[in-house]
């Protein structure tokens, strides 16, 4: 049996460090945010190696090693890719740990080689032996070596160098830093992703795979998504278990005493028709319940009866106001009245879409959207709308929560939340509250509403950023229901 000291002396060009139980514990405790076991394992391994090697660089070479891009951001990389980048002054090294029993190869994920911003000067091979509690740095390679002489494996999307091609003596790296400072080769720039591509990729890759989603899409797209710290963070957060953590709903009634775990609902998913379970599109919802149960606000047929049809010249005037009026209130009223048209629908739809995109006023925007829902329910501009029957959970008052979103011109998203009465109830119970909470569960100032006597609905409107998380609290007395969303 070869003991640690013998191995260290035998392979004296390599760096040998022992690992204590405390090292493992420290590393594993710091990576609890990872989304799945693979990510936890990967982050733990990388954290352990970074924790061991950073002080070693300081001790041996008097150079302060800094995590790149930052200690805060590295978990968003470890969620998907093996490897840890360190800055040693102006030199970037990527440490690539492996638990392989053999050291016949240095295998580096393609991300560290082909993402231009991630390219490192040197790639350091580290073997971690969990059984015998040691790690060793057994060599390094330059970017040029890996890119030019490495064996690229499209199946795992990795570059590999055989052991004999890896430079075993890390000391060489310190001299090479000054004598041959640029041993990187140019890599192809990555494509720019359009917003709909980002959205689609985030939606696809945030699914709960038990493994890294890095191989699920074409590399250039994956790399483009990952190289942008903002989208990488968004994907990380979407996959993070903390965005799905349940909140406990309490009630004085027996029905509320249970803890309710609610999955995060993506508003944008409705567009892809992927929302399942209790959330439904308006069409699905109307089809699923007895018409008689629907509150007045939902009964389009009532609207048809009550509202007189508009004359063509009136419609023309209203459309003209939408396009040309500088009075926002007038535009809003025009949009509201156009919900009753039965003719000239195409022109009206066109005008309403224009108004939704053009106006800066949220009231006007949502009024136009509601008219669009009435005359053209499937219009893609206002297609993201869903509803959930909250049942009898609020002191036996049946209510439904509707959520809708509209894309604005400045990449922002307009959100509408509305609570309706159900089951033949004409009005909401007085005192019913609707609140918007931020991702930490704090009340967002001014985003709260309370039903008065004879309110047939209450609503809140606000604007958010893509992938922003929030939750909605619907409460009556001590009973409350919380729903979680991501924009």
């Amino acid at each position: 049996m070869l003991i640690f000291e013998e191995l260290r002396e035998e392979f004296s060009d390599q760096v040998w460090l022992q690992i204590s139980a405390n090292d493992w514990q420290t590393a594993s405790l710091s990576v609890q945010n990872a989304s799945n076991q693979f990510a936890k394992y990967n982050a733990g391994l990388n954290r352990l190696v970074a924790n061991k090697l950073m002080p070693w660089f300081q001790e041996e070479y008097d150079v302060e090693a800094k995590l790149w891009p930052s200690a805060e951001e590295l978990p968003t990389i470890w969620e998907f890719v093996n490897g840890t980048a360190l800055m040693l002054d102006n030199t970037r090294v990527a440490i690539v740990p492996s638990e392989n029993i053999d050291i016949e190869e240095l295998r580096v994920p393609q991300e560290w080689i082909d993402i231009p911003d991630w390219v490192a000067n040197y790639y350091i091979a580290v073997q971690v032996n969990r059984e015998d509690n040691w790690l060793r740095v057994w060599g390094y390679a330059t970017h040029e070596q890996l890119k030019t002489n490495g064996d690229y494996d499209p199946f795992t999307q990795t570059y590999a160098l055989e052991r004999a091609d890896v430079i075993e003596d890390l000391e060489v790296m310190w001299v090479a830093r000054s004598l041959c400072p640029n041993e990187t080769v140019k890599v192809h720039p990555l494509p720019s992703l359009l917003s709909h591509q980002v959205k689609s990729l985030l939606s696809q890759l945030s699914q709960p795979f038990p493994y890294s989603p890095r191989l699920e899409v074409e590399f250039s797209q994956w790399a483009a998504l990952l190289s942008d710290s903002s989208t990488r963070k968004q994907l990380y957060e979407l996959r993070s278990p903390h965005s799905k953590v349940a909140e406990v709903a309490t009630s004085i009634t027996a029905a509320f005493e249970k803890s309710l775990k609610k999955l995060l609902v993506r508003l944008s998913d409705l567009k892809e028709k992927v929302v399942t379970g209790e959330w439904q599109t308006i069409d699905q919802f109307i089809a699923s319940v007895n018409q008689a149960e629907l509150a007045w606000q939902f009964r389009q047929s009532d609207r048809d009866v009550i509202s007189p049809s508009l004359r063509p010249e009136t419609i023309h005037d209203l459309i003209d106001q939408i396009y040309h009026s500088t009075n926002e209130h007038q535009r809003k009223q025009a949009a509201e009245r156009l919900a009753d048209v039965r003719d000239q629908k195409e022109e009206v739809i066109e005008a309403l879409v224009y108004l939704i995109r053009d106006t800066d006023n949220e009231e006007t925007r949502w009024t136009a959207a509601e008219s669009l829902w009435a005359i053209d329910p499937g219009n893609p501009v206002a297609d993201i709308r869903m509803i959930k029957d909250l049942g009898m959970l609020l002191l036996n008052y049946p209510v439904a929560l509707m959520a809708a979103m509209l894309e604005k011109a400045n990449q922002k998203i307009a959100v509408l939340l509305r609570v309706y009465p159900l089951r033949n109830q004409r009005y909401l119970p007085s005192g019913l509250q609707l609140n918007v909470l931020d991702e930490k569960g704090n009340q967002v100032p001014q985003l709260e509403a309370e039903a008065r006597e004879q309110d047939d609905y209450i609503q809140l409107k606000f604007t958010g950023d893509r992938l922003e998380q929030f939750s909605v609290r619907v409460a009556l007395g001590e009973a409350e229901i919380i729903e979680y969303f991501v924009i």
Binding site: I103, E104, N129, Q145, F155, A160, A164, E183
Partner: protein, 509 residues
């Protein structure tokens, strides 16, 4: 027992036994007729050239990348076989040393030798970093990589028992897997690799301790689904091997993984690549097809190349000698003890008065880096190369190897020549001297010379302080270093000490 003739050196394989000290010895040499005939023909075509020429020539042939497999493969195989025969004594030396250094290896000397021979059978791997221009003998060069390979194999061999199939399947490199497929002739390696990848993705995300083996049906079905989806994805890309493969059922996945586990385990077992195996294996067809002319020395620029190499060597030695002589005496002593005489860094503080091992380590690094910078920047000037040279890490690494090699040779030359002078009056008739007595005497001489030259005492140290290595004290470790050095001198040039007396000393290594 040493090989005698040039022909024998490239065509004979040894019969290995264990001696009374538990060390391997070669009791007889047996020539492989095919290799003997091949070598005879070659030496007839090139009379007068020695083993250094044949070493490099045959190694070059063995390492040549086949451009046309049908014509080059036999040359490569035959050259590899000659090199393998040539390395028998190196294998023996390395294995003897390992057996001496590590008494608890749990592997017999014969088995260890077979492991070494198996490595020697693959010169492409063993000599991948060999630089033909450095002028290093292949039998000297091979000792370090061979020792490293063997100790790695022994280390892995010890660890294997700790690995259940899931752990082993997960923790094996792709390169090793491909190597297994190549050596065992497995045709459907892609299936194994893909099944392994899917297994790791699906089952190994939470460590491998809790994974049942065989896998349960649910896991197998999930792996099979993943396998199919990966196949489909691969099939979409052009020129991918996935198009040739069919999906697997869960049951088939289990079968593939079980076979792969066995293949991996077998790959770390001892392979008896004896002379018989080598002639019997699937290369025999190549032998029969071999056109011996293919391996005959071509009209290369041997002399010219040799001159260039010599010039380079002289330049390197000149630069390093000059730079080394400018170092302070304590630093020179430290580098000689560490690089020339094999002292561990832990033994230096007590001998040379450094504060601790860390200080020694830092000082060594600093000095080596300085030497390295001097070498790589001065060499082009010394060789009168005017064009600016864009250095690479690989070249700097080569420079580092040069320095370590030079330090070793410099130190060894210094002390082995001293030793060669010392025993003149002692060994009047070496044949009658017991090997251990000679060795012991030379160790004492060496100790004395070091102490005088460096003005230090190798005994006046904290004798009672135990070393962490093998339970030895620092003094005992130093004694071992000196003994190792003497043994190396004797083994690498057994006649060196006796030339002046025209004695032939069979060191019996």
């Amino acid at each position: 027992m040493l090989k005698r003739s040039l022909i024998e050196k490239y065509s004979a394989f040894g019969q290995v036994k264990q001696d009374s000290n538990g060390l391997p010895i070669i009791t007889e040499w047996e020539q492989l007729p095919r290799l003997r005939r091949s070598m005879e023909r070659m030496t007839e075509s090139q009379p007068g050239v020695g083993q250094d020429y044949w070493d490099l020539f045959l190694l070059k042939k063995a390492l040549e990348q086949p451009t046309n497999q049908s014509t080059n493969r036999p040359t490569e195989i035959l050259s590899s076989a000659h090199i393998m025969a040539r390395l028998e004594e190196s294998c023996l030396f390395v294995v003897r040393k390992i057996c001496q250094d590590f008494v608890y290896l749990k592997i017999s000397p014969e088995e260890c030798f077979y492991l070494a021979r198996a490595e020697a059978a693959n010169p492409r791997k063993l000599f991948k970093s060999f630089d033909f221009h450095r002028g290093c003998k292949i039998t000297t060069y091979v000792k370090r990589p061979l020792r490293n390979f063997l100790l790695e194999k022994v280390r892995i061999g010890h660890s294997l028992i700790k690995y259940r199939p899931p752990g082993l399947l997960k923790n094996i490199s792709l390169t090793h897997l491909k190597d297994i497929f190549k050596t065992t002739g497995v045709k459907n390696g892609f299936t194994y690799i893909l099944a392994r990848e899917c297994f790791v993705e699906i089952c190994c995300s939470d460590g491998v301790q809790q994974i049942p083996w065989p896998l349960d049906n649910r896991q197998l079905e999930t792996i099979a689904q993943r396998y199919q989806s990966r196949l489909e994805a691969i099939a979409k890309s052009d020129n991918s091997p996935g198009k040739e493969y069919l999906p697997l059922t869960g049951k088939q996945i289990q079968e593939v993984l079980t076979e792969l586990n066995q293949l991996i385990r077998d790959s770390f077992k001892i392979r008896h690549i004896s002379r018989d195996n080598h002639s019997r294996d699937n290369n025999s067809e190549c032998y029969s097809q071999l056109n011996y002319e293919q391996i005959l020395p071509d009209d290369d620029n041997y002399d010219e190349e040799k001159q260039i190499i010599q010039r380079e060597r002289q330049a390197v030695e000149s630069i390093l000698s000059d730079a080394f002589s400018k170092l302070s005496q304590p630093i020179q002593n430290m580098m000689i003890l560490v690089h020339g005489l094999g002292f561990g860094q832990g033994e230096i503080p007590t001998v040379l008065g450094f504060r601790n091992q860390s200080e020694v380590s830092k000082e060594l690094k600093k000095q080596r880096q300085q030497l390295l910078k001097t070498l790589v920047t001065a060499l082009p000037q010394q060789l009168e190369i005017d064009e600016p040279i864009q250095l690479t890490s690989e070249q700097v690494s080569q420079g580092q190897k040069e320095i370590k090699e030079w330090l070793k040779k410099y130190s060894q030359k210094l002390y082995s020549s001293i030793l060669a002078d010392r025993p003149l009056n002692f060994i009047k008739n070496a044949r009658q001297q017991k090997h251990n007595q000679v060795k012991s005497f030379l160790v004492k001489c060496l100790r004395s010379e070091i102490e005088i030259n460096m003005d230090i005492s190798l005994l006046d140290v904290t004798l009672t302080k135990p070393s962490i290595k093998k339970g030895l004290t620092v003094n005992e470790l130093i004694e071992q270093r000196l003994t190792d050095f003497v043994e190396t001198c004797l083994s690498e040039n057994p006649t060196f000490f006796f030339n002046k007396q025209e004695e032939t000393y069979n060191a019996h290594f």
